[in-house]
């Protein structure tokens, strides 16, 4: 239970970048899993993959739901450095929890498009196989590979702009 909770919470946190939202979303994920457990078939991949699919669908729903709110904050997107400083000031405990690189990666991830972001998170932070990501995203293997490739290149470019070079 704790292992699954951690996995779901991390996926939510890496996608949203917000601790409180991630907590609420994690609870929603487990509630949905609890209600739809009867629909789970092992043919859809392992339980962890199915759980990741449920989480990802909920994250996309949440992203679409909150898009309008973010549109009003587009000015912040134009000034990422300022946004980072503000977020550090807002959530000092969260920043302390994250390691230095982890925090920098999180800041860079929020600047990726959701499609590329989820692909990179699933592959490099959740360490899923290509076939599992294919199950989760419900797209062909070529598309999965292409998104992961573009996501990595874009993330490396953003981190380079931030002056971060992971070793």
């Amino acid at each position: 239970m704790r292992r699954h909770t951690r996995r779901v919470f991390n996926l939510c946190y890496r996608f949203t970048g917000n601790g409180a939202e991630s907590e609420d979303l994690s609870q929603e994920v487990f509630l949905r899993i609890y209600r739809t457990l009867a629909s789970y078939r092992s043919a859809h991949g392992g339980f962890a993959t199915w759980m990741t699919s449920v989480t990802r669908n909920l994250l996309i729903d949440h992203y679409r739901r909150t898009r309008r709110d973010r549109m009003t904050d587009s000015l912040d997107d134009a000034m990422p450095v300022v946004e980072n400083k503000e977020s550090s000031a807002r959530r000092p405990d969260e920043q302390a929890l994250l390691g230095e690189l982890s925090g920098q990666v999180q800041a860079a991830l929020t600047r990726l498009s959701p499609e590329l972001r989820e692909a990179v998170i699933l592959r490099d932070l959740q360490q899923l196989e290509y076939t599992e990501i294919q199950h989760v995203l419900q797209v062909p293997e070529g598309t999965v590979k292409s998104r992961i490739n573009r996501g990595r290149i874009e993330l490396a470019r953003i981190l380079g702009q931030m002056g971060v070079r992971p070793s």
Binding site: R2, R6, E23, F30, L98, V120, Q127, I148, A156, L159
Partner: protein, 227 residues
């Protein structure tokens, strides 16, 4: 076929994940070595992926698991009233604990009884260490004296029985019970009978009875002796 920068960019993840064929890998490396544009790109993406793999998962807030359980299985029941007061009994209301408690109680009861505690008229003074010691000492001496008396009585009864027992009941004299030996016979000496005598069970006799018969017949037939 030599690779272009577009090739390199499109297959970069395959290279990092080790999914390129040996020939492709060779062509990839050859281009990257010579290309000033691709070399930093490949280097930065490779180190990014290595760095991402090293990042550990964040610890979830401690309350999250309980919140999830509350949401899915419902809020936990909180005991109220006398249930809350007696709630701790649930933890010890197991057969194992009850058996253990009963055996400990029985042991104490036996020890107290042995120490001279009067169950019919219980007095606190009986539980004082000095009186417990005195009672235990007295009980131990009593048990020892009773045991010694019992053994003594047993010995007396046995002696009386032995004296009252008639002579006929006594076992026969040892001489009559021992099997009689052969007085004339010395060890290692035979009784002097011929080896061919019928009562001597000789294996040779048994094996060749016809020789004796033949020798007897020949002696009867003629004066010539067969050697």
């Amino acid at each position: 076929m030599s690779w272009t920068c577009e090739h390199i960019e499109s297959r970069l993840s395959d290279y990092v994940d080790g999914l390129l064929e040996p020939a492709e890998r060779q062509a990839f490396a050859a281009h990257v070595q010579a290309c000033a544009h691709c070399a930093p790109l490949v280097s930065s993406v490779s180190s990014l992926v290595r760095g991402l793999r090293k990042i550990e998962q964040l610890a979830e807030p401690p309350r999250l698991v309980y919140n999830i359980l509350d949401k899915t299985l419902g809020p936990r029941e909180t005991a109220a009233g006398w249930r809350a007061v007696l709630g701790w009994l649930n933890a010890i209301a197991t057969p194992r604990f009850v058996y253990g408690a009963l055996s400990v109680g029985a042991t104490f009861a036996i020890l107290l009884t042995a120490a001279g505690f009067n169950w019919r008229k219980p007095q606190l003074a009986d539980l004082a260490p000095a009186s417990v010691y005195r009672s235990t000492n007295r009980q131990a001496h009593l048990v020892y004296a009773r045991g010694a008396k019992f053994m003594n009585d047993l010995r007396v009864v046995h002696e009386i029985q032995s004296r009252l027992r008639p002579e006929t009941d006594l076992p026969a004299a040892p001489e009559s019970t021992v099997p009689e030996s052969t007085p004339q016979k010395q060890p290692g000496v035979t009784d002097g009978a011929p080896a061919t005598a019928p009562r001597q069970q000789n294996r040779t006799n048994g094996m060749y009875p016809e020789r004796t018969v033949l020798a007897t017949n020949l002696a009867a037939v003629g004066p010539r002796r067969v050697s």
